[in-house]
């Protein structure tokens, strides 16, 4: 009986692990979007993070350098986006799409030399405690530091936006950059910072994939997770806690449908594969139905260029 319960615990833990990159990238993008910037380059920034992390780990052998290097790579590539959209006032959508295409291309180029190289084992925390509590043990213990960080992030993000002065400024800029500018807030600076932060989180999400989740480099290994992260932000109506729920549902259905395919349930594979996408969106739409709340949490200036005229 105890073995069964622990098995369920393991499944839940694997679901949570698959949700980690989505939570990281979504929470980063959420901050970017709350400042009024729509960065569709999440997928590109993630894959850059993935290859940078894996390459740095292989070359330097240091996991710490690799993790922070991946975040830095995310920051660097998002700086391109920030410069284009905020300084040169280009269109957010077109620039973001270009960023994704660029990221996928350049990661494949750099990654050529790293295909087939085995990854390193990433240290996990509280390994010994795993068997002390049935069910909860495997869920709570024996994960990487990035895993714990990801599950704390939605709450940190929520606190940051609601309770801190800087969070308030970010929301204000997203609501009305004109008013913010007239109040003496440096809109461009705030948006730069938010874009760069989003880049760092996407980079970390990518590094988690290539260093911890499946420690190896495969071309295009993010497999559309960046797009899912973007969808989560919108369908969660810019609410970090709902991002957590959405990411868990998506991760959960992905894992469960794998098991269902393996068991040989007589449902078309295509339908099973599509299931996580459909159900996640339906659930998020249903729990976010309140039109008043949507109005209150949607950044009014999302995707619109702000140009201060004098």
């Amino acid at each position: 009986m105890i073995i069964d319960i622990n098995f369920i615990g393991l499944i839940i833990a694997s679901i949570m692990a698959s949700a980690v990159p989505l939570i990281l990238a979504s929470c980063g993008e959420l901050i970017t979007e709350r400042s009024g910037v729509l960065n569709l380059g999440v997928e590109g920034m993630m894959i850059i993070g993935a290859i940078s992390g894996f390459a740095l780990m292989t070359v330097t052998g240091s996991l710490i350098i690799a993790i922070f290097g991946a975040m830095l790579a995310g920051v660097l590539i998002s700086t391109i986006f920030a410069f284009l959209t905020q300084t040169l006032i280009t269109n957010h959508v077109a620039t973001g799409l270009a960023l994704t295409i660029f990221g996928i291309g350049i990661s494949a180029m750099i990654g050529k030399n790293f295909v087939g190289i085995p990854g390193k084992e990433f240290p996990v925390l509280f390994e010994g405690l795993k068997d002390t509590i049935p069910l909860l043990g495997p869920i709570l213990f024996g994960h990487s530091i990035v895993f714990y960080f990801a599950f704390a992030l939605p709450f940190i993000t929520s606190y940051f936006l609601k309770k801190t002065k800087i969070g308030l400024i970010v929301r204000a800029v997203g609501d009305s950059p004109e008013s913010a500018s007239n109040q003496g807030i440096n809109v461009r600076l705030v948006r730069y910072a938010c874009i760069l932060y989003g880049g760092a989180m996407s980079g970390l999400a990518g590094a988690y994939l290539s260093m911890i989740y499946t420690p190896q480099w495969i071309e295009n290994m993010t497999g559309g997770r960046g797009w899912i992260a973007l969808a989560l932000v919108v369908f969660s109506t810019w609410n970090p806690i709902k991002i957590l729920i959405g990411a868990m549902i998506f991760g959960g259905l992905t894992i469960i449908q794998f098991h269902m395919q393996a068991i040989g349930v007589r449902i078309p594979v295509q339908f099973l594969t599509a299931l996580p996408y459909i159900v996640t969106i339906i659930v998020l739409v249903v729990i976010s139905r309140d039109s008043r709340k949507i109005r209150l949490s949607t950044p009014s200036s999302l995707g619109k260029s702000f140009h201060k005229d004098n």
């Binding site: 002065k165 308030l168 400024i169 929301r171 204000a172 609501d175 009305s176 004109e178 008013s179 913010a180 500018s181 007239n182 109040q183 003496g184 807030i185 008043r292 109005r295 209150l296 949490s297 949607t298 009014s300 004098n310």
Partner: protein
Amino acid sequence: MNTNLKISNVTKIYPGCVANDNVSLEFNSGKIYALLGENGAGKSTLVKILSGVIIPDEGKIYLNENNLKLNSPLDAKKNDIGMVFQHFNLFETLSVFENLIIDSDEQRESLREKIDTIMKKYNFSIDLDIPILNLSAGQKQKVEIIRCLIRNPKVLIMDEPTSVLTEQETSELFLSLKKFSEEGILIIYITHKLKEVMQLCDEVAVMRRGKLVSVSEIKNENIESLANKMVGQNLKTIKKKKAKTSSDQLIKITNLNFTSEDPFETNLMDINFSVNRGECLGIAGISGNGQSELFQVLSGEIISEKKSIEFNNNYIGDLNPQERREYLMAFSPEDRLEQAAIPQMKIFENVALNNFKSSNFFNNGLINENKIKDHSKKIISDFNVNTDNIELKSQFLSGGNLQKLIIGRELITSPDLLICFNPTWGLDVGAINYIHETLIRINEQNKSIILISTDTDELLKLSDKISVIHKGKLSKIMNAEEVTSEKLGILMGGAN
């Protein structure tokens, strides 16, 4: 302590327009100053310079003999200059308190106390924890004023503050402003409404085309003298001739109801009225009492029951705006840039927009550009639109010119009925006069008008019959001669 604000030889030039031409002015605390001028006279530019939003090309600002360097709104704030903009600088989705704390360095608790003191002192009552978008325009303005007062300003600048206020809110605002002035705050009041200047201010500076025309004391002026200074020519007063009594019914509304799903909209309840040919029906009311919904139902933006609207002996309640235009109805919505015209499109393209069928603007699905352009030129000259470039994007037209263009566009099909909603909202005196003359001419040609307006004077001037809308219900329809503005005011407040 006395405050002295001096503007010295300020010039600001934009490509193709001198917004401020060597303007010098001096203000002293204890008085309320009016800065008067038509739209585009340069008063907004001047106050934006004072509040650091715009940097002048030349000239200096002195506050108590100190030369101020105003390079950003922050500089103005630091120098105790507070400004309430015409378009509110608030964050709609943030709460009132969040809006106030964002540019304050104080702790939450002490700021809350300070706000409470201010609200008590001036008799404001606003819930600090609800989002701005739930507030009325008057309340939003109070939030802006509180935001200025928190910083104990020496100078308070109000840019066209009453354009969005009801009459009740306006008189409340005037009381507060007088109180501020007594407490030693220097008040500069920007407006193009002459009545308000006479009511509120002590001194008035008039601007025209970027230049300062005159500075004088209010007691030496009257409405006519100020209007003439503002426009630069003698304005004729227009008066409507009494309409011929006609019993030829054009439109009849029967038991019209509209229930909205949006909690911020007003439901319409049991609307009944009729308009005869050659008649103008005025619908008065404080904004937000169902006018916008009524306009949409009449124009077909909101479809209603087929038989609830009878026009020229046809039931048209279920038709969309385009189909209603085929029956010779025409519409001039309230929001000129959002509803009536597409700002990014050129003038002639906007002219073509509402004439799909009954015009020859289109041949087999292709645009007949020459025809549209000829036609647009005709509107521009017939309706006195102050531009000769029909390729201009309509967002660059001033409000008055855009309104003339829209009315011109609507009238070109010679409709039997024109429905307009606040046609002179935010326009200057010259343009208002022109629009009023046009509307009177329509009636003289035996065509009808439904005029939904929040401007009582306008309604009394133009209407043959008047009704008042309150909370989505219409009052009984009265003959305009029997109505006074006091009586309308009482009905607008909801009393019988």
